[in-house]
Symmetry: C2
Subunit: 463 residues, 2 copies
Amino acid sequence: MTIARTPAPIDALLAQLRAEIVGPMLTAPSALEPYRRDRAADPNAGTPLAVVRAQSVADVQTVLRFASEHTIAVIPRGAGSGLSGGSSAVDGAIILSTEDMRGIAVDPITMTVTAGPGVMNAELKAAAAEHGLWYPPDPASFEFCSIGGNVATNAGGLCCVKYGVTRDYVLGMTVVLADGSVVELGGRLIKDVAGLPLMQLFIGSEGTLGVIVSVTLRLRAAPPPSSTVLVTFDDIDAAGAAVLALARTGRLSMLELMDRTTVECVERLHAGGLDTTAAATLIVQSDEPGEAGQAALAAAAEICSAGGCVSVRQAASVEEGERWTTLRRVAIPSVEAAAGSLLLGDVGVPLPSLGALMAGIESISRESGVPIALIAHAGDGNTHPLVMRDTTSAEAIARADAAYGRVMDLAIALDGTITGEHGVGRLKQPWLAANVGDDVVRLNEAVKAALDPQRILNPGAAF
Amino acid sequence: MTIARTPAPIDALLAQLRAEIVGPMLTAPSALEPYRRDRAADPNAGTPLAVVRAQSVADVQTVLRFASEHTIAVIPRGAGSGLSGGSSAVDGAIILSTEDMRGIAVDPITMTVTAGPGVMNAELKAAAAEHGLWYPPDPASFEFCSIGGNVATNAGGLCCVKYGVTRDYVLGMTVVLADGSVVELGGRLIKDVAGLPLMQLFIGSEGTLGVIVSVTLRLRAAPPPSSTVLVTFDDIDAAGAAVLALARTGRLSMLELMDRTTVECVERLHAGGLDTTAAATLIVQSDEPGEAGQAALAAAAEICSAGGCVSVRQAASVEEGERWTTLRRVAIPSVEAAAGSLLLGDVGVPLPSLGALMAGIESISRESGVPIALIAHAGDGNTHPLVMRDTTSAEAIARADAAYGRVMDLAIALDGTITGEHGVGRLKQPWLAANVGDDVVRLNEAVKAALDPQRILNPGAAF
């Protein structure tokens, strides 16, 4: 329900807010438009009252105090690269953008970095690299996603199979709560169990419990260069079985999969020499040093051969391996270019069910007549079905939407998850209860009520 | 405040509970006595009404429903190996012991294990090893601590410097909430961000939010055998500086420290050939395979030599390295044997402050006349000062207690933590607010109120 308001009081209130903050406040419709949606292009996105580009922790506090006082919804927003509509605008809300909070300080001694939420993942990696250090988490969007958003969604990426997800790197954070108060959680400590693990609660909370205004992350020594093999299968089931066996070696630093439709789209735009006839293409890497890496890849090649693969190609150089990885990274935009409009899935299953999930998605595509390309962080059992959305008719749109839902139903039936790394956002919200259970949704609500009793933070997202 | 009750109604209520559960219920004073304290020997431990040894999830549910209905406190208890009084009895409470919930099922395909909370850490390791798999977290107490307690405290150990803490291995759990309802969180998924990360909230919650009745943990392939060097320093500052440099290599699988007092106590009982004149002894391991491991240890030896160490001894065999590690594992009981009574600290600091922490603890010991032995998971900046408690006079006890408190004050002053891996329990509770801030304590309370509004779960522990 939208409560009707007369424009005058809101304008007066917003003028008051504008006077209290340092950052710019945008209210012109043309200025608001780019902030209404993230990359999920949520068709139900509303129109916000205003966008505040916070310049400081104080700005964030001011906005949240104001919003609490007047019971106005606040949508925290990083770089707007989200794929689940987690930062879609809601009618009458304030969009609180952290894009300008870009401080970054590497501490090479403790091998940590403290960054504002608006720092891009790629910038953080680059700042670490200046000290010979490495920040592993690498969403495919690393060049245009912010670290605040990464923490808010517990983002994953391609390296997770060996190096874990964003959560595994967070040591400390500063959070502004719904009432505008600030708390510091964690620090630069490697082990710390003092009190409830509240910091963990904010990692992956999708902006529903507080606004992360600073984060301290652990860095690692840069790994040795990777060795890579490219493997093709003419059968998706065989590829799934091989992935399970490969993951069990515990020695791979990347284990990615693309299906035929994806490879066709990638080759159309990038002509990278991938085999467009293969049912599944795996990119397999090891970053163990020297001979150990070669041995790990030889073992991987043997597993794939025994599993009935069509071809195994060893990269001639680190650069060739990197080129193949780049082809994987451009998969989503490549499929998007072919499809016009995409619905991006993020379903995951326990690894033994990966083959069943992929086969089931093929069936859904065939039965519905909706093309679905598939890429996967296969070693984690985490897939991204890319549902191609023909927007030329309402009927075609409805069919695509139904296929997207059926993919989530399938993941749930396989003891899986509707979202492995992108977040529930608004687009997957209707499937959450079926996924985690009504009792767990109630527990989500209880925690939400404790931290944001007025429910002003990102209403409608996540749960 | 203890509310006076007439004995008759309580006895009648307990009889009713006894009829509803499968597990034994103990009420005789002699039977209750062993359940009043954990290894922290909390001097303020109360006397429980009863001990219930739950045999099943249903028993746990029955106890919690009963306790909710009659507003009776429940102290969840695993193996009673806690070092912070987290399972000390409270007057009038029910001790809910999970020691008999010992189901264990390894799934070698997904490389996971699902275990009841009463399974010992060592049993879990052994069950994994039968499949060539490995469960890394290794508290020094691994032979007599339970996995339920490990998860409830987010326990650490010696391998954390490379392999992380308990949290890093938890994929799923079943929890009975304060009202007796059951929730399933997570599963066998490697990546899962559906809804708030509630599972994370229970890891390290010290029995204050729910009772963990089953847990699914990730296993790894067993690592190669370790190579070990033993390094001595005649200066604790130099040892601290060397630890920082060693940790920064990122290549070590163990980095433990014992001070002179500890080594003296260990040698007295175990005669392991350690140098009792060294101010600090480091045990440094690498489990990188073959030559890589040798190279990692050679680099470590060079760092220590450049840092002014007195001696570096390379273990002649894997067994000799394991023997040295065992000497470290028996350090706490060895110091306990010398001291009679111990107060066990668990303070941690950012690594650059490790030297300052150790020097400060020496000063506290000197100034107070209270001997303090020190062991450390040095690579994590996590130390265990072992405050020797002369119990022959009230004055001596007060001096030891004051020294224990001053060590925590020091850690707080160094931006550290009062507990790195043992939990706050009851013994460190008075320092929590100074450590994390009143605002964070309030946030703890808000979450507690959301999950356990009657505050029946482990009152007085953690926060």
